[in-house]
């Protein structure tokens, strides 16, 4: 390592690390849950339900908690959203259900829908009960590509409806970004894997890990061998900075987070003393907070527009700022400086908007840094699909309201499709809705034959 760049592991003692990466929202206990549930007004045509991408019957599940039936409550949640447990942990509720809660208008403080949802789903998962049963076998088999939220939600719903599912996953582990991407303190105690096990426990889902579409399997074969195909492969690639050769210390945020999530010893991760994060979305916020919690001294997010335009919610931004992260806006990186092949600083150019277009002002400043994280968006790895002729727009697969692609017999959902909002909960909604559409289409085909 060069004298001028300061990257080290084990910057913080183990106990501090454990504290920094503990459950960010401690679960409610039974009594707290009852009191929190009591605040729900059981609204008519409740606005919170409409604000939930999976339209969970929120007033009902909360009333079930209030009346001491958390397992029934969990069933209400999971009926609509099989990843109700993960969503309770990772949904930006402040811009979804809780933003719509009428209690905001009443006293500026919504019902704690997310934490209540977690209470119910945790209770069910701890009980080890299976509340879903498969319908009689339909004899149909469906290929699902990608074991993230979209793929798992689709597979579960199809299995429940009596279809046989084969789930192809490129990596060795299921869960997608739940397992590799979500901030560590949002999903503690190996929750992602436990939830996957819970989902698979319904039966009827054959899992093929280490099988990548485009490398180990081909879409045309899947279309020929199965009655339907669902694509839920997320976004495998990441955008680049286009600043030429990158010195060591310039890191892909998503890759680093994956490493962090899989690490059994947080003290082993390389952490810079001064860190710059480029981007304005959830990934930027998450890497900034996590690297700070790993012991970086100075962490600066540089975003090219104003803070109000950041994709990460205000709540998430505040969380990072509370962690001590500095957010600098209206700036973009223009040059990376290194010594001996190692990053030492980044030059940032001021930006402004002219007629809706972002332009550099020519003025620059330099931020010394040991690590720079790229968190400027992910991309679909399209080459594996292009040969099939599937319609792609803006780098994402085109689907209709039923999540059907331009190819007959092929549906898609989650981050890989156009028009979504890149949230776990939306991926789950896509997977579920595609499953229902596939089911309807297979049934229609069957009755047409009969």
């Amino acid at each position: 390592m060069s004298a001028s760049s300061d990257i080290a592991s084990g910057r913080l003692p183990a106990a501090t690390l454990a504290e920094n990466f503990a459950d960010i929202h401690a679960p409610l206990d039974r009594f707290e849950a009852r009191v929190a549930a009591e605040r729900c007004l059981f609204c008519y045509d409740a606005p919170c339900v409409k604000a939930c991408p999976t339209t969970i019957d929120i007033p009902l599940f909360i009333r079930q908690i209030a009346s001491g039936n958390p397992v029934g409550s969990a069933k209400t949640i999971l009926d609509q959203n099989i990843m109700g447990g993960m969503c309770a942990r990772v949904c930006p509720t402040e811009t979804l259900c809780e933003e719509a809660c009428v209690r905001n208008a009443a006293e500026g403080n919504p019902v704690e829908i997310g934490r209540l949802q977690r209470f119910a789903t945790d209770t069910l998962m701890q009980s080890g009960k299976q509340v879903f049963h498969r319908a009689p076998p339909t004899g149909k088999s469906i290929a699902v590509v990608g074991g993230g939220p979209a793929g798992l939600a689709c597979a579960h719903r199809l299995a429940k409806l009596g279809h046989d599912v084969t789930l192809f996953e490129a990596s060795e582990k299921l869960g997608g970004l739940n397992e590799f991407g979500i901030a560590a303190y949002k999903s503690t105690d190996d929750f992602a894997a436990r939830e996957v096990a819970f989902i698979l426990s319904i039966g009827g889902i054959k899992v093929e890990t280490g099988k990548r579409l485009g490398r180990d399997i081909a879409l045309s074969h899947l279309m020929a061998d199965y009655d339907a195909v669902f694509l839920g492969m997320g976004l495998g690639g990441t955008n680049t900075l286009d600043l030429g050769e990158e010195p060591a210390g310039v890191i892909d945020a998503v890759e680093y987070i994956a490493q962090l999530r899989q690490s059994t010893d947080l003290a082993s991760l390389p952490v810079g003393r001064r860190v710059v994060v480029i981007g304005g979305g959830m990934t930027a916020i998450d890497i900034a907070s996590q690297i700070k919690r790993l012991g970086a001294e100075e962490v600066t997010i540089v975003y090219r527009r104003g803070q109000d335009r950041m994709n990460a919610s205000t709540y998430e931004q505040h969380l990072a700022q509370t962690d001590g992260v500095l957010i600098r806006t209206w700036g973009k990186p223009v040059r990376l400086h290194g010594v001996g092949g190692h990053l030492t600083s980044v030059e940032i150019e001021h930006t402004r908007e002219v007629d809706g277009k972002l332009v550099g002002t020519g003025e620059t400043y330099t931020l010394p840094c040991d690590q720079l994280f790229k968190a400027i968006g992910q991309t679909l790895l399209a080459d594996e699909l292009e040969a099939s002729g599937i319609a792609i727009k803006g780098g994402r697969i085109v689907v209709d309201v039923n999540r059907q692609t331009s190819l007959a017999g092929v549906w898609a959902g989650g981050d890989c499709v156009a028009g979504g909002d890149d949230l776990t909960v939306s991926a789950v909604a896509d997977g579920r809705d595609a499953a229902m559409a596939i089911h309807a289409s297979l049934k229609a085909a069957a009755s047409a034959v009969a």
Partner: protein
């Protein structure tokens, strides 16, 4: 500053807040602590006849109804009268009265329904120097199985008889404590009056069973494997007691009887309500048992500040002010019309008013306007029932507005005018002097739909 002192049944007290006869007044230790906190008086825990004291259960003797955050809304007990020897109680009463001469100290009594029993206990109680006695004709559990408590209170003849003995055999003021476990509270009140009572106090507790543990199928509270009914009290019983107090206060035969109001008093506001309905003072048990004696500080300051704000100089100034406004249903004005109105600035759009009215009432609240969520009362359907006002989570967001004289009730099509009671209504087959509506008929917008409500003949 308002004068909170009272003279009730001839007994002076610095304020109208007494502790009701119950565990808080079971011994000198408690009573002295209560006086120190500021209680104006106490009714000592009920004494029984001399001899071996009663025995209480040593398992749970109380039960409660909780809100979700475990506030106690309702309380019940299966406790008996004092389980301490008579001599000990009498000696403590004497000492406490001597040490606290400015506070009221009334002794509650319950002995078998024979003249000798009462003749035996009255002189020894009088000897303590206490201010008066309260006859416990109300305890609905345990003692009633032995022919005492509510077993006496439910038979007006017994109430009268025992009251008379007490007046004959002692010079002390006699307060008769009534049981609510009767169908008409006026009967025992009248009986107490006939017997010469100086006052009545009400209510004692209501027969109750608090629930069932649905895991063990055990009724609650249970002790040693069995449960028995107990007496209900606390905030939940206040409406029942208020009604009984008002009945006694407005009935000509009993209207001059002094009333000590008891049941669910938790704050100064509850006390004002009892006083407005005719009570000369109030007694408290559950609130003290749940929060301790210091609640009286909130009660005293609240009452005093309220009276100052309203310019009432004494308790007597405001006593009974609500009584003339109580009447029988048949005297209510059927020509009065009110309509619900939603304050759109306060509405948080929960939709509860709509769904309550739509599912269970008169389908008078719409849920959208121009395709957006919006809740508004349709005057042509609203009967002014108050349901939406009560279910709305925002205080004062929905109000019932009276329709002014001369305006049109578009639900019925009649001009709002006049004053007809059921006794004068043409729909009453028994009306001796039916009056047609005073207002003119201009045509209802929803006549067919509401034919059942507006059977007035169209002119």
């Amino acid at each position: 500053m308002a004068d909170l002192s009272t003279t009730f049944a001839g007994i002076k007290s610095p304020n109208p807040f007494w502790l009701a006869s119950a565990p808080p007044t079971d011994k000198a230790y408690n009573v002295v602590r209560a006086y120190k906190e500021g209680w104006g008086g106490v009714v000592w825990k009920t004494l029984g006849e001399d001899g071996p004291p009663v025995v209480n259960v040593s398992g749970p003797r109380y039960g409660a109804i909780h809100s979700q955050d475990r506030r106690v809304y309702g309380f019940n007990n299966i406790e008996l009268i004092t389980d301490r020897p008579l001599a000990v109680n009498l000696q403590e009463i004497k000492q406490v009265k001597r040490d606290w001469p400015d506070r009221a100290l009334v002794v509650s009594l319950m002995v078998p329904c024979t003249e000798e029993s009462w003749k035996a206990i009255l002189p020894v109680v009088e000897e303590t120097g206490c201010d008066g006695i309260e006859l416990n004709f109300g305890c609905p559990h345990g003692m009633s199985e032995r022919g005492m408590g509510s077993a006496v209170g439910q038979v007006p003849e017994y109430v009268e008889m025992v009251t008379r003995w007490c007046k004959q055999h002692s010079r002390m003021p006699v307060i008769v404590k009534l049981t609510p476990n009767v169908s008409d509270i006026r009967k025992p009140a009248e009986a107490a009056m006939r017997g010469g009572a100086d006052a009545v106090s009400l209510i004692n507790t209501i027969n109750s069973l608090m629930g069932v543990d649905i895991d063990t199928m055990m009724p609650l509270p249970s002790t040693g494997g069995y449960a028995t009914h107990g007496g209900y009290c606390g905030a939940a019983v206040k409406p029942i007691s208020l009604n009984m107090v008002s009945e006694i206060a407005r009935t000509p035969a009993t209207r001059n009887l002094s009333i000590s109001g008891i049941g669910g008093i938790e704050t100064w506001r509850d006390a004002v309500e009892y006083i407005a309905l005719g009570a000369g003072n109030v007694q408290v048990c559950t609130a003290a048992m749940v929060y301790g004696f210091r609640v009286v500080k909130e009660m005293i300051t609240g009452l005093s500040d309220y009276m100052d704000a309203k310019c009432y100089r004494s308790i007597e100034d405001m006593r009974g002010l609500a009584v003339p406004k109580m009447t029988d249903w048949q005297y209510l004005n059927l020509d009065y019309v009110a309509k619900a109105k939603i304050n759109q600035d306060l509405c948080i759009q929960c939709g509860r008013c709509h769904i309550s009215c739509e599912d269970t009432s008169h389908q008078a609240i719409s849920s959208e306007k121009d395709g957006v969520r919006h809740f508004e009362v349709r005057e042509e359907d609203c009967v002014g029932c108050n349901l939406c006002v009560l279910v709305c989570p925002v205080e004062n967001c929905i109000t019932l507005e009276s329709k002014p004289e001369g305006s049109i009730d578009i639900r019925t099509g009649y001009e709002v005018k006049g004053h007809r009671t059921w006794l004068e209504h043409p729909n009453n087959p028994g009306a001796t002097n039916p009056k047609p509506p005073a207002g003119k008929y201009v045509g209802a917008q929803h006549v067919e739909k509401h034919a059942d409500f507006c059977s007035e003949p169209a002119e």
